[in-house]
């Protein structure tokens, strides 16, 4: 198995990375870059890859290398990694505007993503799509809230018709529950027993709008009302999220039926760039309490953490520099 490409020296090697085929092996160990790595280390590494990528992105944004807009997933890395550590090669992942983390956890190439954000021909979509519009292998994202949910449902219908046991993972945000098309989709997903896991990343905010003035009633009931079983977890701990997601994906695949997973999480960064209207203190508290990197990092010895950090940061820098040297 060759999990997340970043760890397998694929970066910069020019070879196409492949999506994570099932995540860590059953015993909790994976081969990473020629080393046997335990599951905890592996998950940490994956999350840190996203964090490092997006931190560098934000750091360099002001230099004008990147254009347009960008939505980072700071604080939500455990969702991307926890969920996508369970997917198989034929599975489909559908994401939204906040898609970098999902893309990287899917096995996407950081260099191709940097290049995309720089508007280079080497980018994931040749610079046409930009930050929100990625497609690579079975990964698709787009920037119109809710609009990709029926698309994800249709993909699940396709896989079901093909009978090939593939499942669809669809990420969406709490604010996107405002869009009517979400409910049209939930209804058909349930009616037709589509093999899809909807991952609702509830960071309690949409751009600047707190969930409590945008979402009436209950998020979980919105799935239940359509007969879609829903699991709710309030956690930024990848070790809590991952097994839950694993069970649900197993069920979606095995029973060919839908499941929803509502993850209460925290957005540690701004919505896109410089547009956070929450009190600084609130955000600082979230950093204290809800940073998945800190939470999971506490499980690893300092020396390993340092090694990983150095390693990943170097790889991300390499990816960045290689992207920068690309055409256009």
């Amino acid at each position: 198995p060759s999990p997340m490409n970043l760890s397998s020296e694929a970066v910069g090697s020019g070879s196409m990375p492949s999506p994570n085929p099932g995540g860590p092996s059953p015993g909790g160990f994976s081969w990473i870059g020629g080393r046997l790595m335990d599951k905890n280390t592996h998950l940490y590494q994956q999350m840190l890859t996203i964090r490092s990528f997006e931190s560098l992105l934000l750091e360099k944004f002001s230099t004008g290398i990147f254009t347009g807009t960008t939505h980072t997933s700071l604080g939500q890395e455990a969702n991307a990694v926890g969920v996508l550590s369970h997917i198989h090669e034929n599975d489909v992942v559908v994401s939204n505007h906040r898609c970098h983390g999902h893309f990287l956890a899917y096995g996407g190439d950081p260099r191709a993503l940097f290049a995309e954000l720089m508007g280079k021909p080497e980018g994931v979509c040749g610079g046409v799509g930009g930050s929100q519009h990625l497609h690579w292998r079975n990964f698709y994202s787009s920037g119109v809230q809710g609009g990709t949910v029926p698309m994800a449902a249709g993909m699940a219908l396709a896989e079901k018709k093909k009978g090939d046991q593939a499942v669809v993972i669809d990420f969406m945000g709490d604010g996107t529950l405002g869009e009517g098309i979400v409910y049209e989709s939930l209804n058909m997903i349930a009616l037709w027993d589509l093999p899809i896991l909807i991952v609702l990343e509830n960071n309690h905010i949409a751009q600047t709008t707190p969930a409590d003035i945008a979402i009436a009633g209950s998020i979980t009931q919105r799935f239940e009302a359509f007969g879609i079983p829903v699991t709710h977890i309030d956690s930024s701990d990848v070790l809590e999220i991952s097994p839950l997601a694993g069970d649900l994906i197993h069920c979606v695949r095995g029973e060919s039926m839908p499941q929803a997973l509502v993850i209460d999480t925290a957005r540690l960064g701004t919505h896109s760039k410089g547009d956070d209207t929450r009190p600084q203190e609130t955000v600082e508290n979230l950093w204290q309490e809800r940073d998945p990197i800190t939470i999971h990092g506490a499980r690893l010895p300092e020396i390993i953490l340092n090694n990983i950090r150095t390693d990943i940061e170097r790889r991300i820098k390499v990816a960045f520099n290689e992207a920068l040297q690309g055409g256009a």
């Binding site: 489909v92 799509g129 787009s142 698309m151 449902a153 093909k162 058909m188």
Partner: protein, 347 residues
């Protein structure tokens, strides 16, 4: 096919769908109330769910949702066909079409495409009132990445008949998201066979899409050089034929009638060739005037011909709702009389 069932636009479309399902296992039909025995509000899908129960899916009343679902199916290899029960409800799928289906190919850097065919009946003259009688394809004719087709009621060479063949081609080609514009009045039209067309010379100028998506030119045999080019599609093409005939016999004004079946992207050359001969162009459509198909056709003709375009006009619906009352409806929608009057004023 010599039985009666293949003799109207409706039966031809039905046959086209049936044949698509038969020949192409990737075809899936989605729509509201499309199952037998009902077979859809206008019966285009009649019999299909009985024959292909696994691939004809009736849906909740969720136009946007089913269009999106079809998009997902298409991205993953299927050739879905969506029926929107009334063309008026295509307003609900604009986001899915404009921002999703039609964008995927370019936005994802040519890596994929979503070849969904969306069929829908447009048009009035049935007294259904303001929300069930519109001709709204103009909302879609200028959408990059979307093909728009409208059948002509010819028997054609194929046993399916031209309308069904057009649909069959769009569905089974699986190349591009497509809006397939039907028309409620057109359903009932008998397909024109050779014997119906003995007075006409019919040429197909399909250009690059010739065989799949024809562009017809009709002239009256033995008529003198035409003075006006008429351009029309769908049900209005039938009214234009009637008008062309009447005006020739009653007013001795002769026209050439151009009938494209692919409205977008629109290959205008056959039409320009005609207008180069006539210097006069009348476009005819059932939708409201502003920013309609005729506007684009006139604009492109004017761009191409400049002062050689001596007279240009458009026949279209009045810019208001389509009333329910038949007499009011008739005032709003363009008819044969309007075409004749415009032609007379142009020469």
């Amino acid at each position: 096919m010599t039985d009666k069932s293949s003799s109207t636009v409706l039966s031809s479309l039905n046959l086209g769908l049936r044949q698509s399902l038969q020949d192409d296992p990737k075809v899936i039909l989605l729509g509201e109330d499309i199952l037998d025995p009902y077979g859809g509000s206008f019966k285009v899908t009649r019999g299909l769910s009985s024959q292909f129960p696994e691939r004809v899916m009736t849906t909740p009343i969720s136009e946007a949702g089913i269009t999106g679902i079809a998009g997902g199916l298409a991205l993953r290899g299927f050739h879905p066909v969506v029926e929107i029960m009334f063309g008026d409800f295509t307003t609900l799928i604009v986001d899915q079409v404009v921002n999703h289906l039609a964008k995927f190919t370019a936005m994802y850097h040519e890596q994929t495409s979503a070849p969904v065919v969306i069929r829908t009946p447009m048009g009035g003259r049935r007294g259904y009132g303001p929300t069930h009688s519109q001709t709204l394809e103009k909302l879609f004719l200028g959408v990059p990445g979307l093909r728009v087709l409208a059948p002509f009621h010819l028997q054609g060479e194929d046993k399916i008949g031209s309308p069904g063949k057009l649909l069959y081609n769009a569905v089974t080609q699986g190349e591009s998201p497509t809006l397939f514009v039907e028309n409620k009045m057109k359903y009932l039209l008998k397909l024109l066979s050779e014997s119906d067309l003995t007075e006409y010379r019919v040429t197909n100028h399909g250009g690059s899409a010739k065989s799949d998506f024809p562009f017809y030119e009709l002239r009256l045999k033995g008529a003198p050089a035409a003075g006006v080019t008429l351009a029309a599609y769908g049900y209005m093409a039938k009214l234009a034929m009637d008008a062309m005939h009447q005006i020739a016999y009653q007013h001795e004004i002769f026209c050439e009638l151009l009938v494209p079946t692919q409205l977008a992207p629109f290959e205008i050359d056959p039409l320009l060739a005609s207008v180069r001969r006539t210097s006069r162009l009348l476009t005819i459509e059932e939708g409201t005037l502003s920013l309609g198909w005729g506007a684009e056709v006139l604009a492109r003709t004017s761009e191409a011909l400049g002062a050689d375009l001596k007279a240009a006009r458009r026949v279209a619906a009045k810019e208001t709702v389509v009333p329910a009352a038949p007499n009011l409806e008739a005032e709003v929608l363009p008819g044969v009389g309007d075409i004749i009057q415009h032609v007379k004023e142009m020469v």
